[in-house]
Structure formats: C-alpha cells, structure tokens
C-alpha cells in the first residue's frame, strides 16, 4: 500500500511515527509543533492502537513520560516548540546518559524570525550539548521517512534522537507517500537496567560510553541516506545547505547548481564530507536556518585555509529565517525586478478577539491600577500577552512560561506594590504552581490573576491540565481560602471585578483572582457541534 497524502510537515512526522510503530506521543502545545500531537489524537490507526496522545502538563513532564515508555521497550515521541527544550532540558540531556530501550525521538520545532515566539534559539545546540544525533528534514517526505529511520537508529544504539525542524517545514504542506504501518513493540524491560540509575559511579561510566558512541554517530552521519555531497564544476565556492535551506538553494538553480554542495540533514556534522568539500572549493558558504551552528564549527577560531562565509561573516543576515531571496546576494545572483512596496500598507498586528474574557479582565485591572502611583503588572505567555498592545497597554513584562508569578514575587521582595501577576490557566499549571508556592511560603504581597478561559487558547484550543480545579490547587498550595476569588469577566460585572481586584491588591499577602469564562473560539466550536 503506497498511500499518498497532502500533509503539513508536522502531520508527516505524526504519520511517520504512527506507521513506525509508535506507542505514545507526549507534548505540550506550542507553535509550530502543536499539529503533530493533534494529528495523532485524530488518526484512526492511532485510536485503534490506543496510542497515548493526551497533552502533558509541560515539556519536562512530557519528556520524562516518554522516557518511561522507552524504558518499557516501546517507541515514544516527544514534541515541543524550541523554547520548550529549555523546560525539558534536565530530562532531555540526562536521557542521553541513561540511553533508551524502546526508540525515543524528541522533535523540537524552531521558530526563526519569531513568528510566534520570544527568541530564535537553535535546538541543534541542545543535540550537540547532549551528545546525541540530530535529524533535520529538508522536505515533508524526509520528515516522514526520518521517523522510522530515527526509531530504528535509537533502538540500535540505545540513544535518544533529536529531530530539529523549523516553522516553514512544520507549517507547509506537500504530498507524502506513506508505507504500510509496522507493528508496535511488545513491552520489555531494559537489558542494561543499571544504566538507568544515574548515580555518579554509573554516570561516569555512561559518560565514557556516550563519548565512545559519538564516534559511531559521526561515521553514520558521513554515510547517512539524508546527507549527500554533490560535485559541481565551479570550484570558486562550495556550499553546505542544512535542512530546509537546501530547497532555497535548489530553487535558485532550476537547471542545477554549478557549485559542489553538501545537503546536510543528519548530525553530528560529517567532518569527512566537509573536508572533501573544502578540498574542492576556494571558499565555503554555509546556508542554515537559525543560529550559525555549522558555520561556527567549520570556521573555528583561528584562520582556516578555506574561508567560511555565512551568517557570522555578514554574507547572510545574522538573524531571521532564510528565504530564497536573502540567500541570493551570497550566491552572487542578480536581484529580481519587483514592484515597489505600496506606501499605503500599514502593519496589522494580532489582537485579542472581540468578546474575549481577557479583554474584560484587562479593562477592570487597568481601571483599578490607575488608582495607584506606580503599579507593575508581570505577565506571561499566552493570548493575554496581547494586553501589551493598545488599547490596554496593561503589562510590563513577558519572559517565559510561569515568570509572571515569580517575577511579581521578586519585585515585591524588592519593595514594589502593587505587584500583580497575570497568567493564563494552562500556563499556570505548566510552570506557575511552583512559583505560587514560593510566594505562599513567604507570604509575599502579590496579587495573582489566573485568567481562566478553560483552554490552551493561543495554540488553537487544546485541553488545559487544571480545568475545574484551580481553586483547590491554589488552596492546596496554601493560599488562604478567602483570598481565592472567582469572577465572570463580562462588561456587566465590571464593578464587581473592580471591587474584588481592589480588595485583593490591598490585602497584604498572596491573593489569587480567577476571572473565568470560556474562550470565545472554543465556545463557538462547541456551539457548532451541538
């Protein structure tokens, strides 16, 4: 059966994993990775096989749950956006130390140009840091094929495998040819049970083994079916094109590229291929999306006999995603004649939906805070981040998942009042609960607004881990019952909301206010279903 389907890069990964005998996907929603897990949640074969696909509370719990499934001999997949790697990092790096039993692939979806993110970090550094192989697909078909390859590889060498991709691959569709699904693995305990107990004596041995294994990873990258050195006639330049950058390069040479090219989709960087390219080229151009990971490695610190150019040298933009346009100058291609940008066009930034509960929450909060001289509002990651923009201009910080509560506490420690945190329901369970415990333990003078829309809104309305239990979670962490306040954020309740906010700001200690009303996007969807 050769099944042809038009799939997003994310969906190709999902289908590839299912057909490679997946037993569980573990993930927290995050653009541009969300659609991988959503595809598995809706796939008939995944349902028939009872493949685990419920959302995890955050990326660290996801990574650890997947490692537990790997321990039991089954194939598991972990998916997250690039900044999720920071949350999962402890478990991720140490999974290289334990090694795997069932195949384990970690997908990190990077977001160069920051379409939906707060930074441009390149997950390949995490793969190198953990000393494990990295796959970087150049097409949707390759993304599909790499799942079966990656799981086999993971089991053969008892190593987790990192797949790194970028927004343009995750959210672009192409036809993918799928194969017959493989059976799932039976349950089995690891053959080397002691490897999983990372006490120093074991860890020292495992570290040596992992370093030794890296020689194997390198020689496999030299001969990988996903890496390819093509010779060209013109030796004035040689090109290393990583992942999706290979497509942009080929786009500009429809009749074939005159230069020698390494298509690079499996790491560690194949040093043999790079040396071969260098011997056939007067200089090397590195095309890579994200940070200059390969360019730095190939160039080193001291001058090399073959000059290396790319993002570091200024021949390519230092930041932002690569495009067929911005690589042209580095290839000495003439600019294309275009229409001039139309001067009438103005930016149209995203905004909170009309009728959204976050709007009413910010409207009430702004009115009350106007009564104080220097209020500060520390916010968090979610739709309500848009409260920074007009008309609300309500927040003073957005840093990472959960930082609202802890930064409000730190500011309060420094003497700030009112010190307000605004966090969403899903972000609160992801990384806000531990910070709230810190605040309770010191009776910090902060006001925490958990703006509860019963869903993970910004990524499209996925289940939220704490729905229906926020009052009991807050009380369980030690917030006094009379300072856990619930209100329905609607214009008609404005006076009630303002009274509650004012009372709790004036309470000297930890307060939690929960404005609760369903996200209007999910409410509309629920209404349609009925």
């Amino acid at each position: 059966m050769n099944d042809k389907r038009l799939l997003l890069g994310d969906e190709a990964i999902a289908l590839g994993a299912i057909n490679a005998g997946l037993s569980g996907v573990y993930a927290y929603p995050g653009t541009p990775s969300t659609e991988i897990t959503e595809f598995i949640q809706n796939d008939p074969l995944a349902k028939a096989r009872s493949i685990h696909s419920k959302w995890s509370t955050n990326e660290k719990t996801a990574m650890e749950e997947a490692l537990g499934m790997s321990y039991m001999g089954k194939r598991s997949l972990v998916c997250m956006k690039h900044v999720g790697m920071n949350v999962a990092a402890d478990a991720f790096v140490n999974s290289a130390m334990t090694g795997t039993n069932g195949g384990l692939i970690v997908v990190a979806a990077d977001d160069p140009s920051m379409h939906s993110s707060q930074n441009e970090q390149d997950s390949r550094f995490y793969g190198k840091f953990a000393m494990i192989p990295i796959l970087e697909p150049s097409s949707q078909q390759e993304a599909y094929d790499m799942m079966s390859y990656g799981f086999d590889y993971s089991e053969r060498h008892r190593t987790p495998v990192l797949m790194r991709m970028v927004t343009r691959m995750a959210h672009s569709r192409a036809v993918v040819v799928a194969e017959e699904p493989r059976e799932q693995n039976p349950m089995s305990f690891p053959a080397n049970p002691n490897d999983w107990v990372l006490m120093p004596a074991v860890a020292r041995r495992r570290n040596q083994e992992l370093i030794k294994l890296n020689e194997q990873f390198l020689s496999d990258a030299e001969t990988s079916p996903f890496n390819k050195l093509t010779s060209g006639k013109d030796r004035s330049m040689g090109i290393i094109a990583c992942g999706i950058a290979y497509n942009y390069l080929m786009e500009l040479y429809p009749d074939g590229c005159p230069y020698s090219v390494i298509k690079l989709s499996q790491y560690p960087i194949p040093t043999g291929l790079v040396k071969e390219l260098a011997s056939a080229s007067d200089r090397i151009l590195v095309l890579e999306d994200g940070q200059p990971f390969v360019e730095e490695a190939v160039r080193g610190i001291l001058p090399t006999p073959v000059p290396v150019i790319g993002r570091l040298s200024g021949d390519l933009p230092r930041t932002g995603e690569l495009t067929p346009d911005n690589i042209r100058p580095a290839l000495n291609l003439a600019p294309i004649e275009t229409f001039d940008p139309c001067p009438l066009v103005v930016p149209r930034p995203p905004a909170l939906c009309q009728g959204c509960g976050h709007r009413d929450m910010y409207a009430a909060l702004n009115e009350v805070l106007a009564e104080y001289e220097h209020p500060r509002v520390f916010s968090d990651i979610g739709c309500y981040t848009l409260g920074f923009l007009p008309p609300y201009r309500a927040i003073h910080s957005v840093v990472d998942m959960g930082a609202s509560i802890t930064m409000a506490k730190g500011a309060s420690d420094a003497g700030q009042h009112p010190s307000v945190a605004v966090i969403g329901d899903s972000t609160f369970t992801h990384s806000g609960m531990t910070g709230l415990l810190d605040a309770v333990n010191e009776n910090s003078n902060i006001t925490v607004v958990i703006s509860d829309n019963l869903t993970t809104g910004m990524t499209g309305g996925q289940d939220s881990a704490g729905t229906g239990r926020f009052e009991s979670i807050c009380k369980g962490l030690g917030v006094a019952e009379e300072h856990v306040r619930v209100v329905v954020p609607l214009p008609k309740n404005m006076e009630e909301m303002k009274d509650i906010i004012r009372q709790e700001i004036n309470h000297n200690g930890v307060s939690v206010i929960i404005p609760r009303r369903e996200c209007i996007q999910t409410a509309r969807r629920h209404a349609k279903k009925q």
Binding site: L6, H171, M250, F339
Partner: protein, 198 residues
C-alpha cells in the same frame, strides 16, 4: 505548468479554504504542490498569508521568491497590496474590495482603490455583495476563488469537482450554493479583468 499563488487576508477570513480547494484540484490533475501556511499568534485578527505553489515539475522551496508570484488572491484590499513585491511584473491581483478595518490607521479607501486600479493586471471584486446576491454571504471566499480561477492554469470543471467533494458532507444545498458562488465570481472576472501595459 507552474503557478505560484499568494493568498492573503485577515486572520479568520478563510483564505485556507481557498487553498484547500486549489490544492485538491492540483492533486487530481497529478501536479506537485507545496503550501506554506500561517498558524499561531498572528491568526488573532492579524494579517495572514499562504504561499501556494502548483507545478508539473517537483517544487523546491516552500516559499515563493519575491517577484515570482503569478497571482495574488486576497480577501482584503490592503492585504493584497502588502504582498506586491512578491508579484511578477506581469502577474495578476485578484482581490476583494471590502476593507476589513480593525486598526485605527487604516488607509483611506479611495486611495486604496486608486492603488489597486493602477496595477497593470487586476480583478477588483465586491465579493460580499456578489456572494449575497448569488448564493450566501458565507460564500464570499468561493466567489473570490471563482474570480481567480481563469488565472490558475487549472480546468474550471475540475475546480468545481473539488468544491463538490469538499462540501459534500455538508449536504447538496451547501454544495450548490458554493457552485453558484464560484460561477458568479468566474463570470465577473471574465467581464472585469483589467489589463494595461506594465
């Protein structure tokens, strides 16, 4: 053949359903396809676009280079103009004329109209009114698809088949409504396509 299409609009207007129908038609025709979409934060009332490429040969880049798009199909007039640098010098702009005003500094509608009419090859169409008259206000995006269909390099009958297949599960009435909308757009484009020397 190769047709590179930029679809644009405001989050929630429904550019992706246009892409789905063109994509399904291209696959029936045995063509290669790549379609880069926008998901996530910018969908909340912000500007959205999709790069759709169909070709009889394998396609490399998911993104259309500047100056290379054959058509811009837009559900909003200012959003059509946003992507002008991507359009070929002899490319077509097919756009709805109804402004979607959700920002305080939206340009004056008359100036927008002037800028659109200055384009060498364009179809400016009041899809909302046409959809209301011909079918249903909900079919505005299918009217626009109809207006774009002469320029796609795809047989119009096959596009109609794709519409039938995609709306089939919603019932015959919805299918017929969308076919009517499609034909209304197509007829309009035949009578109102404007060309002048570039």
């Amino acid at each position: 053949m190769q047709t590179d299409i930029i679809l644009s609009g405001v989050g929630g207007q429904g550019i992706l359903s246009i892409a789905t129908i063109i994509g399904a038609t291209a696959i029936t025709e045995g063509l290669y396809i790549k379609q880069a979409e926008v998901h996530g934060m910018s969908q909340r009332g912000g500007d959205v676009q999709s790069n759709l490429r169909i070709s009889s040969n394998p396609i490399n880049s998911d993104l259309i280079p500047t100056g290379c798009a054959d058509i811009i199909i837009s559900l909003e007039p200012m959003e059509a103009l946003r992507y002008l640098p991507y359009l070929k010098r002899d490319g077509w702009v097919i756009t709805s004329t109804s402004p979607f005003v959700n920002i305080p500094n939206y340009p004056e509608p008359d100036k927008l109209k002037e800028a659109l009419e200055a384009l060498p090859r364009h179809v400016a169409i009041d899809v909302d009114t046409l959809a209301k008259e011909a079918a249903s206000p909900r079919a505005a995006n299918i009217v626009l698809l109809g207006a774009a269909s002469p320029f796609l390099g795809l047989p119009e009958a096959q596009i109609e088949n794709a519409i039938r297949n995609i709306f089939a599960r919603k019932g015959e009435q919805v299918v017929e409504m969308n076919i009517k909308a499609f034909r209304a757009g197509l007829e309009y484009a035949k009578g109102h396509a404007r060309t002048k020397p570039a």
